[in-house]
């Protein structure tokens, strides 16, 4: 095994960039395969071996691989698995604790604004998580983007969009909290607000925690 020269590494990157792979995970797997293979051969055989790899990792093959990889990503399924595992005794107690605290806060709240503030807390958590996800993703993806500068398509983690969407869609609920009368005509918020607030807050907290677990698991295997 030998160390490849900078020129050889540049050659590899150029060859891979021509495939216009957008998934950072697929891109890095192909790049690692190329380097691992080419390191096994002497300098004189570099071009011949690179050509052989190019015959195997064609544009069509890489795109089919990427499409299948995207198709297999199911954040919802992963979240459901986490939730199922989550229901051990200690966590049920933890959840019961949260429920009790939220219920206490909701009954203590005197104004509608205070209840709305309670409802906003899990949404704020989700928003913070989205910011953290963006930061972590940038930290991990920037070196790759730098190496593959000039790639035909923008490089991003295959998990970034599905995870980001899962984090963002509950934020739409903020509209329902602040403008209930626009969404639901003749809505009498006073009567059901405390109970709805407790229920929604607990559900959203549970959703946010399970999504955080999924992110933690996925961050080990993907660039998010």
């Amino acid at each position: 095994m030998r160390q490849l020269t900078d020129i050889e590494l540049q050659e590899i990157r150029k060859a891979i960039m021509r495939k216009e792979i957008s998934s950072a995970e697929i891109l890095m797997e192909v790049y690692d395969h190329y380097i691992s293979h080419l390191q096994e051969f002497p300098k004189e055989e570099f071009n011949e071996q690179l050509f052989e790899l190019e015959q195997k990792f064609t544009y069509a093959y890489c795109h089919a691989l990427q499409a299948k990889f995207h198709k297999n990503i199911d954040i919802g399924k992963a979240q459901w698995m986490v939730i199922k595992k989550y229901f051990c005794t200690s966590r049920i107690l933890f959840l019961a604790g949260i429920l009790a605290v939220v219920n206490f806060v909701a009954t203590q709240a005197r104004t509608e604004q205070e209840i709305k503030f309670l409802l906003m807390s899990p949404l704020a958590l989700l928003f913070m998580m989205h910011l953290a996800l963006g930061y972590q993703w940038l930290k991990r993806i920037l070196p790759i983007k730098k190496s593959f500068k000039g790639n035909g398509v923008p490089i991003k983690s295959s998990l970034m969009t599905p995870l980001s969407m899962r984090l963002l869609w509950p934020l739409l609920l903020a509209n329902l909290i602040f403008y209930p009368k626009i969404v639901l005509e003749n809505f009498d918020s006073e009567s059901i607000l405390p109970a709805a607030a407790v229920m929604t807050t607990v559900l959203l907290l549970f959703y946010a925690i399970s999504l955080m677990e999924v992110w933690k698991i996925k961050s080990k295997s993907a660039l998010v």
Binding site: S36, H37, K56
Partner: protein, 114 residues
């Protein structure tokens, strides 16, 4: 023997078995290990390997972990608990198939005979 069609049906079992013996492996390492074990007789093509690895990962039989190696990211595959259970099932399935194939090819053949 380098008939890819014959290997295709056993590829998942080969991957699972190798990962049972080696805690974690990356794609290129798997191809090299198969080549080494079969003295170059069986070559796993990259065209079949990566889709198989991704499928096993999606089915929850494999888990992955990314690690920084030199100036690049390497994806390691390892067995999940379900994957560990699946290895023995897949192995007996393959062994039974090979036994039956042997019986077809050589009706005189008895298991245990060289």
């Amino acid at each position: 023997m380098s008939n890819n069609n014959l290997i295709k049906g056993s590829l998942q079992t080969i991957i699972l078995k190798l990962l049972e013996e080696n805690e974690k492996m990356y794609g290129y390492e798997i191809t090299q290990r198969v080549k080494e074990l079969t003295e170059g007789e069986i070559k796993i093509t990259e065209g079949a390997l990566y889709p198989a690895l991704h499928k096993l990962e999606a089915e929850g039989l494999l888990t992955t972990e990314i690690q920084q190696v030199d100036n690049r990211v390497r994806k390691y595959y390892s067995l999940t608990k379900n994957g560990q259970k699946e290895v023995s099932a897949k192995m007996s399935e393959l062994q039974s198939f090979v036994g039956n194939l042997q019986r077809i090819l050589d009706p005189e053949w008895k298991p245990g005979l060289a």
